[in-house]
């Protein structure tokens, strides 16, 4: 059964970031500010959260593989269960905040909102917010894939503890972040101090607002990338897209490269269609819909964005070019 996309869906904000980056401070800020809103907070360990009005739920991150035999197709089983339980409450929430552990891959959290019908019916993923410790970011990149993944998945990045590094160091960190993900909005913060409207109700996964944010290309200095590095790129086309060819190409691409493609989104000018076709995906999971109509005389161009590992931009562009009329 189709799940109606109504405003009754509770927005969910995912907070990721390494241990010590400032997630708990940010959570405390969100919860203690006088915003008159009520949040449910899902945390892995009861930290020092100063909450009276809000509800804190303790969860073990239970990452479940889907039964399709693919290792990238995972969901957070605990999240599915907790969201179902929260919806049984008489008191409703204005939002849900999910704090992941420091070493969490944001993939399973995001995919939960793409695959589970019950979760999709009741909630919507609003944005992934990643908090980064400016001083320790490079060290954390060395420790494993997680720091890179957390940046790659982010819609909003808090480059935190800027007071602990020099302007030069900060520029290097930001440059590295931009090299991984040039589509996230970056805010420089100290003590996770940020205006709430910068991180809440962003609609980053709203198909109607896909690619609303055009990155500042002046900042994309980091182009000498290595083979297996995580980075982001976009490809474009000015000729109309053949929908069947595109579907086939994208299907095959995700089948083969889905594990390496963390996020993807796009706006397509489908041949003969009066409206934009918009889609977004996390690994192999996709959502798509018809977007706003093209205006008379408007230039109908298509744009695809990929954030992932070992992306070959030329190869992707060639594949996409083959889908054009």
């Amino acid at each position: 059964m189709a799940t109606p996309q109504t405003s009754a869906q509770v927005p969910v904000t995912v907070l990721t970031g390494y241990l010590g980056a400032g997630k708990t401070t940010l959570l405390n800020r969100i919860l203690s500010e006088q915003h008159g809103k009520k949040y449910a907070v899902i945390v892995n360990e009861f930290g020092e959260l100063g909450v009276d009005n809000d509800l804190v739920v303790n969860a073990d991150e239970e990452v479940f593989e889907m039964n399709n035999g693919c290792i990238c197709c995972t969901v957070r089983g605990d999240l599915i269960r907790i969201i179902e339980g929260l919806m049984k409450r008489k008191d409703k929430f204005d939002g849900i905040l999910v704090e992941t552990t420091g070493l969490a891959d944001p993939g399973p959290v995001a995919q939960t909102f793409f695959t589970d019908e019950d979760v999709k019916a009741r909630t919507r993923l609003d944005a992934i917010v990643t908090v980064i410790d400016a001083k320790h970011f490079f060290g954390q990149l060395e420790q494993g894939a997680e720091a890179e993944q957390q940046v790659a998945f982010a819609d909003v990045i808090l480059l935190n503890k800027t007071d602990l590094v020099s302007a030069d160091e900060l520029a290097k960190v930001e440059d590295r972040i931009r090299g991984i993900n040039r589509y996230a909005r970056i805010f420089h913060t100290q003590n996770s101090q940020i205006a709430l409207d910068a991180i809440l109700d962003k609609g980053a996964f709203d198909l109607g607002r896909i690619l609303e944010f055009e990155p500042d290309f002046l900042h994309s200095g980091h182009d000498h990338h290595h083979e297996d590095e995580v980075r982001s790129l976009s490809i474009t086309a000015d000729r109309p897209v053949d929908p069947d060819k595109f579907q086939k190409w994208m299907g095959a691409l995700l089948q083969i490269k889905g594990g390496d493609i963390f996020r993807s989104k796009g706006i397509l000018a489908i041949d003969g269609a009066p409206r934009r076709y918009v889609y977004q995906g996390v690994h192999m999971m996709m959502d798509s819909d018809w977007g706003t109509p093209w205006k008379d005389g408007e230039k109908r161009s298509s744009k695809l964005v990929f954030i992932g590992r070992s992306l070959d931009g030329d190869n992707l562009q060639r594949g996409f070019d083959d889908c054009l009329k």
Partner: protein
């Protein structure tokens, strides 16, 4: 029990019922052991106790017994009242007069699932553990590979099966002999579990919208596919000949008599209701079955004649729970808007 769904009276007038409106979603409902009282577990921490007699006056609204949501409730198999579990991490014994005693507390955990057995035992799950409450004692079983998402007693009450990620675990409850648990593996997350009324089969619903069934003695298994949603409600008929499953637009029963359901389609009957069935409950003794829909519709079916009647029209509030009285004459129904309905089928 005489219920003839072909009788036009069933199509024209509804049987006697009592409906009470509250403002909290109903998570679960149950009758007590002797069928005199019905309890509704609510999303504001209250447990509403009502006389099962639909003509008796309803007492005033209850006070909250749990701090958050009452997630589960069963008739107390060792008393006249009920046993409840909440997201406040507590299991309570509720006496017939509504007074509560704490049986178990697990800080920060949710008691989502409770089952009772007529021997007087109650099994509760919270997080990765299962707790057995029997003869005033509490025993913990686990941890399981993930949070327990469904559990049930065997027919004789000597074992409990728990559903989790990667399969199910069957625990022997004997105090004298400690047996290792039996693990039945099947990939993926199992989100509901019911042990057949003859003890031979254990059925689960999975995250991937399938049903999985194990033959307990042989440890062989089977899978039923083709559901458009997760099957979170499973119900075996009293004679164990059929397993009813939710998440279809009609009553859907897999035949388990004889050689079992392999290679056979399920028996499907009833009006194609508005929406999908969210809860299904086989009658405790006869061939009837009740099904509640996400649209609010409620149907009563008879598997012998394949007839069904609509007991409640769709009103947009999804039915969340159903319970038959022990004698099978009354049916309790709750929905996600807070309506508490009790129907007396003796018309």
């Amino acid at each position: 029990m005489k219920i003839d769904l072909a009788n036009p009276a069933w199509q024209q007038t509804l049987p006697p019922a009592r409906s009470l409106a509250t403002d909290a979603p109903v998570a679960a409902c149950a009758f007590n052991r002797d069928g005199t009282t019905v309890a509704f577990a609510l999303g504001d921490g209250c447990i509403r106790l009502l006389p099962a007699d639909v003509k008796a006056a309803a007492p005033d609204a209850a006070v909250p017994l749990h701090k958050g949501v009452v997630l589960s409730i069963v008739g107390d198999p060792a008393g006249d009242g009920f046993v409840s579990g909440g997201d406040d991490g507590r299991v309570l014994r509720i006496a017939a007069d509504g007074t509560a005693t704490e049986l178990l507390a697990q800080k920060g955990k949710w008691f989502e699932h409770l089952v009772a057995h007529k021997t007087g035992a109650v099994a509760a799950s919270a997080g990765k553990s299962m707790f057995l409450l029997r003869d005033g004692e509490v025993r913990e079983f686990g941890p399981h590979p993930s949070t327990v998402a469904g559990l049930d007693f065997s027919k004789d009450g000597s074992r409990v099966a728990c559903a989790h990620y990667g399969g199910i675990t069957v625990w022997s409850l004997s105090k004298d002999v400690t047996l290792p648990p039996r693990r039945f593996a099947w990939q993926g997350s199992h989100v509901a579990l019911r042990w057949s009324t003859d003890g031979k089969f254990i059925a689960t619903g999975t995250q991937e919208n399938d049903i999985h069934v194990w033959r307990v003695a042989q440890a062989t298994d089977m899978r039923m596919q083709g559901y458009p949603a997760k099957v979170k409600s499973l119900s075996w008929t009293a004679d164990a000949r059929y397993l009813y499953t939710s998440s279809q637009p009609v009553f859907t029963a897999w035949p388990f008599a004889g050689k079992g359901p392999e290679g056979k389609p399920p028996l499907q009957f009833g009006d194609e209701g508005a929406g999908l069935m969210t809860v299904v409950a086989a009658h405790p003794s006869a061939e009837f079955v009740a099904g509640g829909y996400d649209s609010g519709e409620l149907q009563l079916g008879d598997i012998r004649t394949r007839r069904s009647v609509v007991l409640k029209m769709a009103d947009g509030a999804a039915i969340t729970c159903l319970a038959w009285s022990p004698d099978g004459f009354k049916l309790a129904v709750g929905n996600d808007r807070g309506d508490l309905l009790t129907i007396d089928l003796r018309r």
